[in-house]
């Protein structure tokens, strides 16, 4: 655990040293703030004191920004050779993957914590549904774990950051949109199947304030699968 924390701390420090963290925080807050408060699906038009609009926008921002956070985690290390140095320390492949995962989740948590003024603002306007808000944030966090795991897997299979970014976005696209669209286009068990895979429906059910173990299992399975595949792809160096 200590090792995982050491790696996570380094990742976080690197983010803040290299300005990436600030850029991502500013973009995330700017993007989600703009669409929540100023443009289009305006939070004031709903007529209710809730943050549903924000949660929806934030799910989209995270969908784009998480691959940008994770893209360099392993791709860059592989490219510069520092991965060799890291993995020859007394560290296991799993600890490296988990450390990187924890580091990027912490950055996401910082970004989400920076949106707390939104909560304060809305709770001043009307009677905020506290349970719903907490569930919304929990949903965003679960969605982030899933996309981070996918991003880390994508970063582990290449030495090129752009390829890692695109791959993560491509895999993410299936969960974020395509499975949902397919679920609408098919009926019967196939439709049911795609609906189960659709991330949006799981996210919405949580952010509506319904905590179902089915949704938790869904997000945790994607996360674990992503991390496992990342570890597997690191360990492939032993064979070839």
């Amino acid at each position: 655990m200590h090792t995982i924390w050491t790696i996570a701390k380094r990742e976080l420090a690197t983010f803040f040293d290299s300005l990436i963290a600030y850029i991502i925080l500013v973009l995330f807050l700017g993007f989600s703030g703009f669409f929540t408060w100023l443009y289009g699906n305006d939070i004031f038009l709903v007529g209710q004191a809730n943050l549903r609009v924000f949660f929806n926008i934030a799910s989209w921002s995270l969908f784009f920004f998480i691959p940008a956070i994770t893209m360099k985690m392993l791709a860059e290390e592989r490219k510069t050779g520092t991965l060799e140095l890291l993995l020859t320390k007394s560290v296991s492949d799993r600890q490296v993957i988990l450390g990187k995962f924890l580091g990027s989740i912490l950055l996401v948590c910082i970004a989400l914590a920076a949106t707390l003024p939104y909560v304060i603002t809305v709770s001043n306007i009307g009677n905020l549904d506290n349970g719903g808000t907490i569930c919304g944030y929990l949903g965003l966090l679960l969605l982030s774990t899933a996309y981070t795991a996918i991003g880390i897997f994508a970063s582990s299979i290449t030495t090129n950051q752009i390829v890692a970014f695109m791959t993560a976005l491509f895999i993410g696209l299936f969960f974020h949109i395509i499975f949902g669209v397919l679920a609408h286009n098919f009926t019967g068990s196939l439709g049911q199947f795609f609906d189960t895979l659709d991330l949006q429906s799981h996210f919405e059910s949580i952010s509506r304030g319904v905590l179902d173990s089915k949704d938790l299992v869904y997000f945790l399975s994607i996360t674990l699968l992503g991390l496992y595949l990342g570890e597997w792809s690191l360990s492939k160096r032993h064979i070839s």
């Binding site: 200590h2 090792t3 050491t6 790696i7 380094r10 420090a13 690197t14 040293d17 290299s18 510069t80 050779g81 520092t82 060799e84 140095l85 890291l86 993995l87 020859t88 320390k89 007394s90 560290v91 160096r237 032993h238 064979i239 070839s240």
Partner: protein, 309 residues
């Protein structure tokens, strides 16, 4: 801590990068790992450090196999990879702290170890910079510092002196020799004088096979075979001298290298020396012997002989 390598094999596709090699390294020994590019040096080092898996054979470190998940062998190894990869956007001190923490140095001792390494590797003037701002030589020092931060019993250094200036090279070689008294050191290099200056034993590999293994002196003896002397004699015709030398019973062959200067290369019969006979001959004939030098086979020649083709 000893390292035993047994019948190690690694194939990349159809090519055998390392082919059934076995050798031992003992505590207090500096092993020089030589070989042309692509001979399998780095592959072997990567297997010892646990970066890539072992295909066939076994590596035992301190008696325990590296395939044993309980062995925790990485903690005993300090490794400086080829090309010295480092996190360029990290400050030196933070980086060393990170390495120390990963290698399980106790928290209370980390600060002291970092100070010691900065002193030992001569990083004091640059210690507050980011690694990316350093010149190549200083980066190499950071690479050495991270390898030694946890005071490992085994040091594996892939070309440790590349990019250093001559003064630094001498310092680092001295450091390696000093470390080698108590620790097990394997170092690979292309610089042959470096091997002679630092290593107790040389291992030359070519195309994944060990082609030579021994101290610099034994390798020289093996490669040289018969004694060869460079001889210069004055006060007589070259032909006369050549004939007289040839007549000596310890001499196998005489080569006239330079006629004007009466310079010869004299090869002795196996296991015999002609030095005394040549001197006696000159005394008898009242010639003046102005040069008598044994020709040593250079390490370069040995290396070339063993690795070309």
């Amino acid at each position: 801590m000893d390292i035993q390598i047994e019948k190690l094999t690694k194939t990349y596709g159809p090519q055998k990068a390392v082919n059934d090699i076995s050798f031992d390294v003992k505590t207090g020994e500096v092993l020089g790992f030589l070989g042309p590019n692509g001979a399998g040096k780095s592959t072997t080092m990567k297997m010892i450090t646990g970066y890539i898996g072992i295909e066939k054979g076994d590596i035992r470190i301190g008696g325990k196999s590296v395939t044993d998940p309980e062995s925790n062998f990485k903690r005993h190894i300090g490794y400086l990879p080829e090309n010295n990869p480092l996190y360029l956007d990290m400050p030196i001190i933070d980086y060393l702290e990170f390495c120390a923490a990963l290698q399980g140095v106790e928290k209370a001792k980390i600060k002291g170890r970092i100070r010691e390494m900065i002193g030992l590797c001569g990083l004091n003037r640059e210690k507050h910079k980011k690694i990316g701002e350093l010149s190549k030589g200083y980066r190499q020092r950071v690479g050495l510092a991270q390898a030694m931060i946890h005071d490992p019993e085994i040091l594996i250094l892939d070309e440790p002196t590349t990019g250093l200036d001559p003064n630094q090279i001498i310092e680092i070689r001295k450091l390696i020799r000093d470390l080698g008294k108590e620790k097990t050191v394997i170092l690979s290099t292309h610089i042959l004088p470096e091997v002679e200056a630092t290593c107790d034993r040389i291992l030359i590999i070519n195309r994944g096979n060990i082609v030579a293994n021994g101290t610099p002196e034994t390798l020289r003896k093996q490669a040289q075979g018969n004694e060869v002397l460079k001889v210069r004699i004055e006060d007589a015709e070259a032909e006369t001298i050549a004939k007289a030398l040839n007549a000596l019973n310890t001499v196998k062959d005489v080569d006239l290298v330079q006629r004007e200067e009466n310079l010869f290369e004299v090869q002795s019969v196996a296991q015999q020396s002609s030095k005394r006979n040549i001197f006696k001959l000159c005394v008898d004939k009242k010639w003046v012997l102005t040069e008598l030098t044994p020709l040593e086979t250079k390490l370069e020649d040995i290396f070339r002989n063993l690795t070309v083709n």
